[in-house]
Point group: C2
């Protein structure tokens, strides 16, 4: 018994999505063809439109449909601060705090030698050029506090400090609302070391 070739092609193509294995891909293909052909057409259009229109902001490297994104074009922002994040989603989280009014650089990834992701893949050369514009006074590293994010922050920090730039890192400590009983020992140890006088 042979699966129709267009169904097989669709199932194979769906596996290009991260986290989608053969079974999920098959389930997705059946679902779209059986219950949501309109959704399938819509997704098809969305994909080709995104591939066609989206590219990277020439300044901060985020996704944009223009040459430079609207955050970078915003004159009211403090151009002396540059916050480095891994993804546009991280940038969005920081924006939602309404506490930061500087600019951003989006790495679009993190160093991960085991996956073959090196300094070039996180656009380190561009970040160095961006920081060396004479306006940026402080680079705030806001990569994740995972092993890979920490390693990335460390690597960038060393590289930028060697060029005489001021570099800082988001504070670590007990989360707001955190109960000590349920916070891991590593976090408490770090919060103890980084304690502040009140």
């Amino acid at each position: 018994m042979k699966t129709p070739s267009s169904l097989e092609f669709l199932t194979e193509a769906l596996r290009r999505l991260p986290g989608v294995g053969p079974k999920s891909a098959q389930r997705m293909a059946y679902h779209l063809m059986q219950h949501d052909r309109e959704g399938a057409s819509l997704l098809g259009r969305a994909l080709s439109q995104a591939v066609e229109r989206l590219h990277h902001c020439a300044r901060c490297n985020t996704f944009t449909e223009n040459e430079v994104c609207e955050v970078c074009l915003d004159d009211s922002r403090d151009a002396t601060l540059l916050c480095v994040v891994e993804t546009p989603a991280d940038q969005l989280m920081i924006e939602q705090t309404l506490t930061y009014k500087g600019l951003y650089f989006i790495l679009m990834g993190r160093l991960s030698p085991l996956d073959g992701i090196g300094p070039k893949d996180i656009h380190l050369e561009r970040l160095i050029a961006r920081c060396s514009d004479g306006v940026v006074k402080e680079v705030i590293l806001a990569t994740n506090f995972t092993n890979e994010g920490e390693a990335t922050a460390h690597y960038i920090s060393e590289t930028l400090k060697a060029r005489g730039l001021k570099v800082s890192r988001l504070a670590r400590g007990v989360p707001v609302g955190g109960e000590l009983e349920y916070v891991d020992a590593g976090t408490i140890a770090r919060a103890m070391l980084d304690r502040r006088s009140t």
Copy 2:
């Protein structure tokens, strides 16, 4: 901060896939745009091709690019047997056993009143017409052994038996390789009731 509209459109469209929530959709969109634009284009093409070419087999209701699928056209099959399954994936599993040489009818779903899926959605009228061709002698119900699959089998069985057709159901019992210690009580109870003389 505004997400570019084509990125937002893509993220929204990805949520049409079953099992994909806002976070996964965002992750998928970023992944495709950052690391696999070729995959994105490919998936776009696969989707429009599938929507355009795939429809349902006039006889067994599976997906096909032709009027009638190749299984239904296969003269070497036993046209007196009709096996009813929920999905093409189930049909494929049965084909892989190499023990069944009859034909199929694919419901493309199961009865599920809570989700608003009634007899019409599983093409019951077409199944009745298919079984009443004068050639089919036995209808084998191979819906899943879940609550919904069982209810579907029961409903179809009653409907077809009222029309004088012979209806059977896949045997239930201890799976091949099953150790009694690890088989659930319901399965053992059923295997005890359905015991066979040797």
